[in-house]
Subunit: 466 residues, 2 copies
């Protein structure tokens, strides 16, 4: 049994989070080696003089993130990391209740490139005053040379702040030199695929259903797409093939599924079994409502996972600001590509975001919006359940949209159209490769105030029965 050396600061609160964080650091730092058994939750709770529930929560968090595995008859132990044999033998590799969700291609109406999306945040809450204050601070303080041709990898101050943020909030394993600042996840993916496919044609496994908006990007970048079905545990890792896989583990788009712990483990197994990489789109990771967000995959295997994220949900898509965290050599290749292709992102807003992160404005805004979005989500779910009990609402543990399965015979295009007429942002889901399942729409709740949800759903219902 391991001596855990866990230090708790009782004044700080978030005891479960502190325990998880200490354990995570110990695993990363090598003090807790793969296979090490952890104390039973009851024993550790006694040792630390905390309630058992707190320890259970910490363990569950780390199991969800893939740092720990929990087996019947064995207890909880440190995941035999990078060890294919051990993972392969694990009973966890067999998924539970893996009922296939339909395989679909997300197909929206109108232009696929711009305008309002169901997944857009409520931009009425964009912190205009505080953002202006950040820009003012930048223009009052940066030296003139900062406005010259900059490092195409991004402003150093921002990479420093972001590395800290991603370590703290996403349990990522990044240093500033792993980060490249980009104009959002789309550009991040474009650059990564550009670099990865320079020497060989890349067979890229993608979730099916996936974001229809991304498919042209992936094809334009020269990737050969291999659709892999998504079920209620997320990407079906048993059907994986290709040289690389693009996943949205925090909140799958469009189904809203959070990748299950066993699938996370299986994904790690797959990536280490060959010379493969994971492109992790940290989609909707900021908005996990029911618990602390599960750490990103990148933190488990920083040499094999390329993490992309952006401020599009947290602040605004129009800022076009995001990041790629990649192993050092790849990060340098991406930076070099950007240094040739477009010389990097605009600098003033990079400095502004760094200031916003450093002064806590970003965290504060996120906390406020998380509360607000949770209220809106709950109101939408309640309204749907009261007014349209025929539909099944899924994927609402995180993110800004619900995946709404419709009864057989309902037309998803018609439902989306009607929702639009009453001001609710919805888009139909359409097949990509596999057999059809129930029709579904994605419904965005970020812009639907809680007090209007019931009325909006009633109105949709009314127009549907006409």
């Amino acid at each position: 049994m391991a001596d855990l050396h866990i230090q708790i600061n009782r004044d700080k609160g978030g005891i479960a989070g502190q325990i998880a964080s200490e354990l995570r650091d110990s695993i990363r730092g090598g003090r807790l080696t793969p296979g090490t058994r952890l104390p039973a939750t009851r024993d550790l709770a006694t040792d630390l003089q905390v309630s058992r529930g707190v320890v259970v929560e910490a363990y569950e968090q780390l199991v969800a993130e893939g740092f720990l595995v929990s087996r019947v008859g064995v207890g909880t132990q440190v995941t035999p990391k990078n060890s294919v044999g051990t993972l392969r033998g694990s009973p966890r590799a067999a998924p539970l209740r893996a009922k296939p969700v339909r395989s679909t291609l997300w197909a929206g109406a109108g232009s696929p490139y711009y305008g309002h999306r169901p997944t857009s945040p409520d931009l009425g809450h964009f912190p205009r005053e505080r953002w202006l204050a950040a820009v003012r601070h930048v223009l009052a303080t940066v030296p003139s040379d900062a406005l010259d041709y900059g490092d195409p990898g991004g402003v150093p101050e921002l990479r420093e702040e972001l590395a800290g943020y991603l370590r703290r909030v996403r349990a990522a394993d990044v240093r500033p030199e792993n980060l490249v600042i980009v104009g959002g996840v789309a550009q991040g993916l474009s650059l990564v695929l550009h670099v990865l496919s320079q020497h060989r044609a890349l067979r890229l496994a993608v979730e099916d259903p996936t974001s229809h908006r991304q498919v042209p990007l992936l094809r334009r970048a020269g990737a050969h797409l291999v659709p892999v079905p998504v079920d209620e545990e997320g990407l079906d890792t048993r059907r994986l093939s290709g040289d690389a896989v693009l996943v949205t583990p925090a909140h799958q788009f469009p189904t809203g599924v959070v990748l299950s712990p066993s699938r996370r483990a299986a994904l790690m197994e797959w990536v280490f079994a060959g010379n493969r990489v994971i492109l992790e789109d940290d989609y909707d990771a900021e908005f996990r409502f029911d618990r602390d967000p599960v750490g990103c995959l990148q933190g488990l295997a920083p040499d094999r996972v390329i993490l992309s994220g952006s401020v599009s949900k947290a602040l605004a898509p129009g800022l076009r600001m995001g990041w790629v965290a990649a192993p050092p050599e790849l990060a340098e290749a991406i930076r070099r590509a950007r240094g040739e292709l477009d010389l990097g992102s605009p600098v003033i807003e990079q400095y502004a975001l760094a200031h916003f992160l450093r002064t806590g404005g970003y965290d504060k805004h996120l906390r406020r919006m998380r509360r607000e979005y949770r209220r809106r989500r709950d109101a939408l779910v309640a309204a749907l359940s009261a007014e349209l009990p025929e539909v099944q609402v899924k994927g609402i543990e995180a993110g800004l949209h619900a995946y709404v399965e419709l009864p057989d015979g309902w037309n998803e295009h018609e439902v989306a159209r009607i929702a639009h007429t009453v001001g609710v942002s919805a888009e139909p889901v359409a097949p990509m490769r596999e057999a059809p399942g129930p029709p579904a729409v994605v419904v965005g709740f970020a812009r639907l105030p809680a007090h209007k949800a019931a009325e909006a759903v009633r109105e949709i219902k009314g127009r549907m029965s006409v």
Copy 2:
């Protein structure tokens, strides 16, 4: 003889510019057809009750821009536009005094991707207060939806303002729908080449010497480069080959040559003789010191010329903001590519630039900087002539750098190194393909205050003789 219908507003000033502008519009609008003879300058001056010099200036401007041709024994006539036969017969096609300048590849020290360049503007003069005011205006006025996913072609308000600006200042023939807002000229070129080379490998003629920083971009985009020498009239059009040509007619980099009227005509002839296009980098066009800037090539053949420009010299490279003006179909293809690859440029600063243009802040800043840079240029040239009469200073009619040819035996790397040690931004020029000419350095004067030029050059001289 044409009836010219020229309207002059004597209260406005800039009479020559008004005459040129009216004639340009008449040619574009088809009221003055190709081949039409214009009145003799003396006659038109009498008609309009202006001095003859004013008419000469207007005609010269339009000859320089390629709208008019002036032949001995024939007088001045509207250029037989798009007509290869007529231009081919023109005595202007034979260049005067076309002494070859050496063919070189521009090779700088240190990272080719970022940091201070000899061609960078003086960022100490970046209008921080006014830029902040523009951002404040944007954040106080734009609707929330403006912060959502935007048109990947750019914010409509900015395209509107820019189209007006480019028509007015660069004699470009653009409407907002021809424009795509991009992250600077590098991204503009990347996107144009990406789109042009989707269906065939593109043989791209490039100026030799050229910007060494651009070569990796062009190669990465899949272009096969065909170097074409630059002489004292600019690109040697007699030696052109390929499917497309990339030129910097306003101020060639690095030689500083302004493309001569006959070469402009020959370039037009070449582009219309085959299914070819011109990629026009409107490099340094903002800073023409000796006269009104020559209009861009794009205004002569909007169906064949793709114009790229940016605010990097006028405001700051760190803003990463520029534009591409292309024929509608190509503009749409570029916009679509951007809509997949990175979803467009950040919107707040696009709105800010639109506001800055609309309220005259951009013009005012340019006028102020043009005066200041002219002072600095004159001071540097005077200092070089007084202290180092052995060198030959070229290419100073426009732009932010001088092309300084060194006597045989001087080492351009050593000179650039010494200049750097005394704070003068200089980079050596090195061969690309052709036979060597005199060694040369590019010396930036934008950041060298006029009152320090003499001392700086004396110091360089002193250190060289050690």
